[in-house]
Subunit: 427 residues, 4 copies
């Protein structure tokens, strides 16, 4: 059924691309202490020997280090993209040159080619799947159910993918165990607070050449992303206003010294608006009508529905590119409201956007790697369906990172363990 050829068949001058891709991978690896440590162990112990891993993920430098790590662990790995526009061809070629790795990812393919590449991965008859958006696991269930018996398990990276898998699971149609890597405490904390917090702010600064000091920054949503954005913006001397709908989160923000306002009031005061709610219509017509000339509107939440661009377009008498990555909407009264990155995730979609910092993906991919190892070692202990990542694996990755960074910490004595246990569970 599939005859899609590995990436090298699709690109010119693969050797030059390979070198460039390798250089990018080397940079990433240099700053991924967790995967550095895991690959050393994997290389020494080959825990994945005999497994075939089918992957559909964004093929760029950071992910490539995960792919290479799995191959070094003894697995045969076949990989393709999970989005036709996110592949870096140079990295794809460099990956394909790694022993035991075949890459089918090519940038800019059409729908047919995209699925042909997935089919080519499936042709390898994976025993484990690793997804970013659940395309691979979905395709296998739909088109290749005969393979499921030999699949031990898989892992899914994203909220969206986990959402899709849970829906399958609820319908009784997910037929092997999948780890929801997205939901671990480690990932949520570091990815959201630090990753989104930092990268949203630097993407906005670099897209606009504007400063944070003295700006009123309105942060919509005070979940993990919102807390990160608020704290990092305050750390750059911005005056932060928080908008929330949940009273305890609103109170938490208030007790941490932030101004808490409804968006209808914040709209009049803000210089920069950053949405992080995961909901739609967070900023709408009634808010646009009150905003000052020159405000920036950016989304660091999830989809491009948080800022209602239809409302904004309705109000605008003119819209034009004010700067790369910035579209100005001019109101009848002359005010200009500037939307960054079309209201899509600003740290990814802005022209200067690099996505999450390397270290944040190291954390997340470290969990992926130990999950794959867990599937190999104990996969038969997990029933078909979506599984939380076991606490011990999340903790192990924290331990690896601390060791890699040379951070030492205390252990408990037996007496202390007993004391805590007697205390918690009754005498």
């Amino acid at each position: 059924m599939s005859s899609y050829e590995r990436v090298t068949a699709h690109v010119d001058n693969p050797e030059a691309l390979r070198e460039e891709g390798r250089r990018k991978m080397d940079w990433a690896l240099q700053h991924m202490p967790i995967l550095q440590s895991i690959r050393e162990d994997f290389e020494a112990e080959k825990p994945l020997t005999g497994e075939t891993i089918g992957m559909a993920m964004h093929v760029e430098a950071k992910t490539a280090i995960l792919v290479e790590t799995l191959a070094l662990g003894g697995a045969e790995v076949a990989v393709t993209g999970c989005n036709p526009l996110s592949t870096h061809d140079d990295v794809s070629v460099a990956l394909d040159a790694v022993d035991n790795v075949t890459s089918y990812a090519v940038r800019g393919v059409d729908d047919e080619e995209y699925y042909a590449a997935i089919e080519s991965v499936i042709d390898h008859e994976p025993t484990i799947t690793v997804d970013d958006g659940a395309d691979m696991v979905f395709r296998i269930h739909q088109e290749h159910p005969e393979l499921i018996d030999s699949i031990v398990g898989g892992a899914e990276e994203t909220t969206t993918g986990v959402h899709r898998l849970r829906a399958m699971d609820e319908d009784g149609e997910l037929n092997y165990p999948m780890f929801a890597v997205n939901d671990t405490p480690m990932k949520r904390l570091f990815d959201n607070v630090h990753g989104t917090g930092e990268s949203a702010l630097s993407a906005i600064a670099m897209t606009t050449n504007l400063s944070w000091a003295g700006k009123t920054v309105v942060v919509a949503g005070y979940g993990y992303c919102g807390k990160g954005v608020a704290s990092k913006a305050a750390g750059q001397d911005a005056n932060v206003v928080v908008c929330e709908v949940e009273p305890r989160k609103a109170l938490e923000a208030h007790m941490e010294g932030y101004d808490v306002l409804p968006m209808a009031e914040a709209a009049e005061e803000g210089d920069v608006f950053i949405t992080t709610t995961g909901n739609k219509d967070v900023i709408t017509r009634e808010h646009f009508e009150k905003m000052q000339d020159g405000v920036l509107l950016a989304n660091a939440g999830h989809f491009d529905v948080e800022i209602n661009l239809d409302d904004l377009d309705d109000l605008a008498v003119d819209r034009y590119e004010a700067r790369d990555g910035v579209e100005a909407f001019e109101m009848a009264d002359g005010r200009r409201l500037n939307v960054l990155a079309e209201g899509r995730l600003v740290n990814l979609a802005a022209p200067v956007g690099l996505g999450h910092p390397v270290e944040v993906m190291d954390q997340s991919f470290g969990i992926q790697a130990v999950c794959v190892r867990e599937i190999v070692e104990n996969g038969d202990e997990y029933e078909a369906g979506v599984h939380e990542v076991p606490d011990e694996l999340d903790k192990e990755v924290a331990e690896i990172k601390l060791a890699a960074e040379g951070v030492e910490y205390d252990g408990l004595t037996d007496e202390q363990v007993e004391y805590m246990s007697s205390w918690q569970h009754g005498t």
Copy 2:
């Protein structure tokens, strides 16, 4: 069996005491916006009419406002202390003068009198109990099981009390429903992070007349209390070092920019050590041996076992009161290690210690008040045993506080509720 007389029988010049107690209560009330709001509602609606509430709590100004609030809600309230040394006689007398309140609490009573006072409360035949340490509920189960049938439920304030109740519950010996007020998200966050964080630091500063700027402050434990202490100390320009045993918490502290060290290394660097672990033997002989001359040792955790004073005494060639609330332990080599408040909770036990700030107790007692109302309104829906405070009550208290502080925040539109719901629960 009990013939213990109300507090006025035990004190001289009750009228002068009453005025002084009332002044203290008025100060507290002025800064308890949640209870202010609840008492207005209670006064208007009298939701507790017909109930008798038996309470054993620290009888001081803040608690007194809770007692008064319950009485204003229509209940008859009988109260005594939960610790012979924590009663303020002036407040006890002022409480006793409140309509529908009888107070038996007297400072400095002996064991016999202490229990006689509890018995006197029980003589009122409470339909609801409110405890700080579970003494009341325990006594009723042990000595007055015949009353249990008419008791609708109760609430317990502290970790220790909840621990005791869970043990009873596990043995099948807790015969009416009890709310574990201690464990709500609101209480944990505000009480531990803000309450302990702030009051531990100001108690240390005022006990020692020393400054935080430029000091190396070692915080043992990075739970809610530890986070509060670390953040507030950094906010006073201290250089904070964190000691932890759980790798994810250690990593969290590291990622927030703190130095993370084992105590054996931190011992050499610290100027001030603050324990917040809830465990024992956090600072022991091997650490004392390495500390610098003049260090401060304080506990903001729970019991006085975190700093091992036996080890310290063994090492000391001399010990003397260096200052009110500070005991110096002099080592053979001349170094002086200064223990604050005998290693007991420094924000309570230091001579200047005032316990938690008024606003923190307002939060906690606000939850108590709505729990009591819940018991009256829906008590029959709860089985005997320990219950978490329902999320909705915790949330209601947050709403009351935001309203009282004049903080407005957003609501969700129907479309937004639907969007989130479709997203979270599958399409």
Copy 3:
């Protein structure tokens, strides 16, 4: 003319007092690394041999360490108080027992006794004077001009004293050189930013039992004191509002993320008001009229004129002590405005106030000590009049503190010195 006897003649049980005073001094010394280091040098080198030092300062533990340091440096020291109410008799007695020190300071003396004690100090025929408020230097000029010829110089601790000396100087009536210790960069920075910042906040917290988290704190004045108070309050999770009259300072506060408002608007928003301007009538009738019920009013500036208490009294229908150190002014509409420490310096005048932290005074008294040494060594190079503390002495104290704290830092190579010099002064 003077026959005032040393302190021991005025107190009961001097030996018990001496022990108590010594204990206080030992605590201070333990936390004064700068004076520890200077006294070691002074003891070894006796640079003050042959001098007689006459001092009028607050006789409490921290100052006592300075007095003792000067005596250890070889000087004969005679000391008395600079305010009849600030003397600690126990410290005064302990000081008097130090070799080469005579103390005349007694708490609670009347005017006549106060000046008699100063005269007794002058009877020692000082060759150097050290003042806190210029009483000693003023008395000598007025009553004992014959002594001036043998006086090499002096040092003055406070703003007020320096102000008085400059007035004398301008009138050509200051007849020996005086160092204005108050004005050094080191003193201003550490004393004002850290000392006032920290101690004002902890004094307010401990006087009121209230919390900072989530409070709106209005800081009037954004000089060094105001910056310290603002930064430390924000560090305790308060929401800080700054009021200023100088546009560049107002802009500085704005650019650092604070809300900047005129007092007329801040009055409506604040929960706590802290004045640090050094000016009068910063908070007046028009502001009191707008404030919320329960606000706190405190002064961390200089005199008790920043908050206009006459205006407040005019508006009040009742005033009463709401708590030790807190006077409530009740308005006709029931609002209560709470003034701390009678509007005097809250970190000193509040009942719990301990003044500046020990380390801050160590810095300040370290400069005093090297100034006295400078007078001995190079006094003849200074003309009569007020002198800034030479930059090198200020720097020396910084070096001593860094060495005492074990903080190492870099030096410049010869090439670097040359590079900077060529750059700054032209090629």
Copy 4:
């Protein structure tokens, strides 16, 4: 002598360029509230009528707004670049199209053309000069002394230019008054603390795709730039280490809670090194030898001499571009030290570098504009030579910015002015 033609003669398709340049200028103007306000006044009052202004500055969007403002004030303006590589041709063409402005700046010209363009500006016979590096004022003195009589004065933007002018002044060879715009408190504070602080960090993050959270960031130098970098890095949850040579600055950093270390020790601990000293050889061979694999080395000081690249090259066995803007130096033991932007100013020289944020230049150019107005109005009151910007002008720009941002602040009453004055100057 000069026959260099205005910019349009040198570029293709000037109309398309003009539109693009105008778009860039509009973006800048939208975020320059100070110049917005000044140009309104200038347009209304035409204070510069009759003057001819000769300028040599970086011709990019932000500067262009200053040029346009001066033209709107009634002056005829001739402008060229101050560096052949910093001109944006689109902006130059857009400027040239502004009424009363002639632009000669073209990117990438050779030396001869560069000076011919300056000559063309001089051909306009300026009565006022505005420089960035003093090229214009220097050329006039050297080649066209006959023009000096009709020149009223000038302004210089940079440290380097002021340095050059002071050297001329000391030699008695600066023959008209020049304002040293670089040195005002406003510029130093906002430009260095906020401008350099923010832009250095975001340039580093965007060049490397790395994160700040949990990183050890070594800041060399604790002047205004160093303070800005340290504070903003801590605000992104980095662990900051400060290196200093001046003991009082070292102590200031220590008292603010930073680790202070000599570079020889910091070298072992740092993940990122940022130099801000203005000196040379801040990081040298002995430091490189101790650094960890993967460290980042960046300069936010002045020249590219702070990090000794010769030493680094000597030690390296290989050097290669690891990433755009990052050169890796590989040591014999395999460690890779990554130098950003060739050790030149990272916020300018990195490929993603945008220089200072718009608002920072608004501040600086606002001072330029009021200085030019001052020259016109009161130029004859200034003698030939370098002049500090009068305090009142610096203050005026702060007032304009506060008004533009809608920030209100207090004024002093007459009584307050009198009180302060009596206090400061003696009664």
